[in-house]
Amino acid sequence: MTVNTEKIEKILMDSTFEVFEKMFYISLEALNADHKVCDIAAIIGLDGSARGEGDIAVTINFDGSVRGEGQISLSGGMTEMMAQNMLSLDACEITEKDIEDCSKEAANMIWGNFLRKFNADEAFNLSIPIFGRNPGTIRYQGPDLQVFRLNFVSSGEVLKVIMTMAYTPL
């Protein structure tokens, strides 16, 4: 199967922007390979080593004509900003449940939106999102697997979007 990697990355990026703008009222800035600012790289752990206190991750799986796994990792401040904006709450009113809920909803919407833009004619199966305090690893592995990594910042807070995708159904 011929796959346009750039197109997939663009769809994933657009889906993420749309979710954060419409549901969380957060304007994200995408970081790409041209960003060489050391402090930003350190914040978001581009080398995979830096990880802040309070980071959370949500993982979701999808399958259909393509299958894969998506994960968002968020800094603590990003999750608080999301919950505050979505629920119109003050910082002191936000509970752990609010943060979990908003983060799971974000992952659900990003990949629902992504799959709809990827192929509007197909009804993919999307799993229930799984919330965790420590960003984990992606499970799917194989020669046909592609990995996409996107990094975003907003007001100094960080969002990482990782997706693996394989082009053969299970």
């Binding site: 749309e18 979710v19 703008e21 419409k22 549901m23 009222y25 919950a83 904006n85 979505m86 629920l87 119109s88 449940k97 609010d98 809920d101 908003c102 799971k104 909803e105 659900n108 919407m109 990949w111 629902g112 939106n113 799959l115 709809r116 192929n119 509007a120 004619d121 197909e122 009804a123 993919f124 999307l126 229930i128």
Partner: protein
């Protein structure tokens, strides 16, 4: 005339957002019930009359499609209009939910205005209808 509305979503946050849009849209609401999945929704329906159901699809235990199916098979519930609010917005899924009897479909992420417009359509009141003077303008609505 006021309505009883049931919001079905496994996300507390999404239920809160939907309820907020409803209240700011000027709908006269008697009760706004909540359920975390289709099974809980059916429990609400067993005890209370509901005029409109707003439901997600992707939920644990009894999902939105299963809920639609159960509603359609029950003579008491089959006429209750259901609006699906979901991330699953493929053409195939839309066709499936409309075939199961849904009256409206909203794709997440959505703007408050989109939800309000579909609810007006489903309830049968136009933007210039009896709620026109009551509704607040959501275009510049700040969550």
């Amino acid at each position: 005339m006021s309505f009883n509305i049931l919001v079905v979503d496994d996300s507390n946050s999404m239920r809160a957002v939907i309820k907020k849009v409803i209240s700011l849209s000027g709908f006269k609401v008697d009760c706004c019930f909540e359920a975390g999945n289709g099974r809980e929704a059916l429990a609400v329906l067993a005890n209370d009359w509901v005029d409109v159901i707003i439901s997600d699809i992707n939920m644990p235990e009894v999902n939105g499609l299963e809920l639609l199916n159960k509603l359609r098979q029950d003579i008491l519930y089959k006429e209750i209009p259901v609006v699906i609010v979901t991330t699953e917005g493929s053409n195939e899924r839309m066709e499936e939910v409309f075939n199961l009897g849904a009256k409206g479909f909203i794709k997440k992420p959505f703007l408050p205005e989109e939800l309000r417009r579909v609810l007006y359509q489903v309830i049968g009141v136009g933007n210039d209808g009896e709620y026109g003077e009551d509704r607040k303008d959501l275009d510049g609505f700040d969550f």
